[in-house]
């Protein structure tokens, strides 16, 4: 498996080296277990930017920067600046003899100070992206909502909403990892859980998880699965009244996947959410949550 993750929106590319296909034994009958097997996918969107430092971390970082600056030696550029200023002061002295000067060539024409000024100008022109995406709820130009990266200067503040609060948006909380939660029909009730689907004969559990991801209404969610082994298990026993010989309960196996491409921003559907680990508690059932939070990492 080859995976490459780079900064920016994580682009993951993976090539499966050798997929071991499940060989179904013909003739031998496997004892059918009373558990229905399901596979669920824990799709994560990794953080896009690094998290803000806590106050102690900021103080430490400032102290380390000061220490490193004090202990450091002068760089080439700084040495050049010093030489240039020396040369200028020598030129302006009364007893200046240009023949004694070594011929520097370029350095006399383009002073290091000029280079620094041109770099400063370039820095002024550069505008870094916003750390928190702002979602413009109602635009002045068209009736539909427009998601903009940089806020126009004269947009009225009342119609700006923090994209962090829009739970269906993929661009919320760029510093935290988000998990996809879907509302699915499970045995009569609509529950919030990680997208799952039932296992069928002849396919591996990972393929079942991939099918679960593909069956979601959101289109264009491309994911890379991390490995063939599940990362968690949830066992659900049916209430005693509903239990029969062949159906004692369900076992759900969770597989981890990383979102590689969000695709076109689909219309926000009410049944899909991107939630942080702290928000998962609001949506998932307690027993389910206990098993899920063991493998969802929020570092």
């Amino acid at each position: 498996m080859t995976a490459v993750g780079s900064a920016g929106f994580r682009h993951l590319s993976s090539t499966s080296v050798c997929r071991v296909t499940l060989q179904t034994k013909s003739g031998t009958e496997k004892p059918s277990s009373p558990w229905t097997l399901m596979a669920a996918v824990c799709l994560q969107r990794l953080p896009v930017i690094s998290a803000d430092c806590s106050p102690i971390e900021q103080q430490f970082r400032q102290m380390m920067q000061r220490m490193e600056l004090e202990k450091s030696l002068l760089s080439d550029h700084e040495l050049r600046l010093l030489e240039d200023s020396e040369r200028i002061s020598r030129k302006q002295a009364d007893d200046y003899d240009s023949d004694e000067e070594e011929n520097r060539g370029d350095q006399e024409i383009v002073l290091a100070q000029d280079l620094e000024d041109s770099w400063e100008q370039k820095l002024q022109k550069f505008q870094p992206g916003l750390r928190v995406n702002v979602c413009v709820k109602s635009s002045r130009h068209s009736g539909e909502g427009v998601r903009a990266r940089s806020v126009p200067a004269d947009a009225p503040l009342s119609c700006l909403a923090d994209a962090d609060e829009d739970l269906t948006s993929l661009e919320r909380c760029l510093a935290d990892p988000l998990v996809l939660v879907a509302e699915q029909q499970v045995g009569g009730d609509k529950l919030w859980l990680l997208p799952q689907t039932r296992w069928q004969e002849g396919e591996t559990l990972r393929q079942t998880a991939e099918r679960a991801l593909a069956s979601l209404p959101a289109a264009g969610l491309k994911a890379t699965f991390l490995g063939n082994a599940p990362c968690g298990v949830y066992k659900y026993k049916l209430p005693k009244a509903a239990r029969t010989e062949s159906a004692v309960g369900t076992k759900v196996f969770f597989f981890k996947a990383i979102l590689s491409d969000g695709g076109a921003p689909a219309a926000p559907s009410a049944s899909l959410l991107w939630a942080k680990k702290s928000e998962l508690q609001r949506y998932l059932k307690p027993a389910y949550m206990m098993k899920v939070e063991r493998f969802v990492l929020a570092l």
Binding site: V4, S6, R10, S50, C231
Partner: protein, 216 residues
Amino acid sequence: MFLRSVCWSKADFLLLQVTRQAFVLQRALASCRATPSLQHPACASVNERQYRTMPTHGIGRWRHLLPKEAPKKKKDKLQMKEILAETDTAYGSLNVTVSGYDMTLVEHYSQYIHNLCNRLGIKVADSYILPTKTTEVMLMQEQGTKMFVDAVLKTHERVVQLSSLEAAACPVLLDVLLQNQPEGVELSVSEHTEAHFQARFKGRPELEGLIAQLTY
């Protein structure tokens, strides 16, 4: 008590010394007669201490107790570690490559990966550095067709080679690595092949020329 002990030491100590030396000499002679081969007094058997002037001569000797080490060769050709093949439950030799422009980030991240694998019990076969590649960014001049050098970027690469990664540990490790990946650093996991190993060496054109001449 004190005075008496002093008196004793001066007279009897010398006597003791003499008697002890005589005793040892007798023992040494006896051993010599038993084994006719001459033994260098410094490396006699373990149980005997060789006396010089002080009875405590050679009391701190311990190097003769260590197992014999083979003489260390100065130049050791870099041997290729065995490339493990895939089994049903574990991946073979994997290369985790960390590359980027900022050397501190790249080095710290590769050290973090190494320490994490040690803690998780994943065997790390090797961890090496590939030579840095220098990239010159050239911009076109605004007036004119000449290109001038704008910036010089250096790409650093660090490789951590894992010998056998269990399939159950793989998603855990990858998730942790991806969540802790710093900005500006690329992570890539690939299989280790012989080509990777050979790429670390510089070509020797003179040697190849001489070999070609020999075979010609």
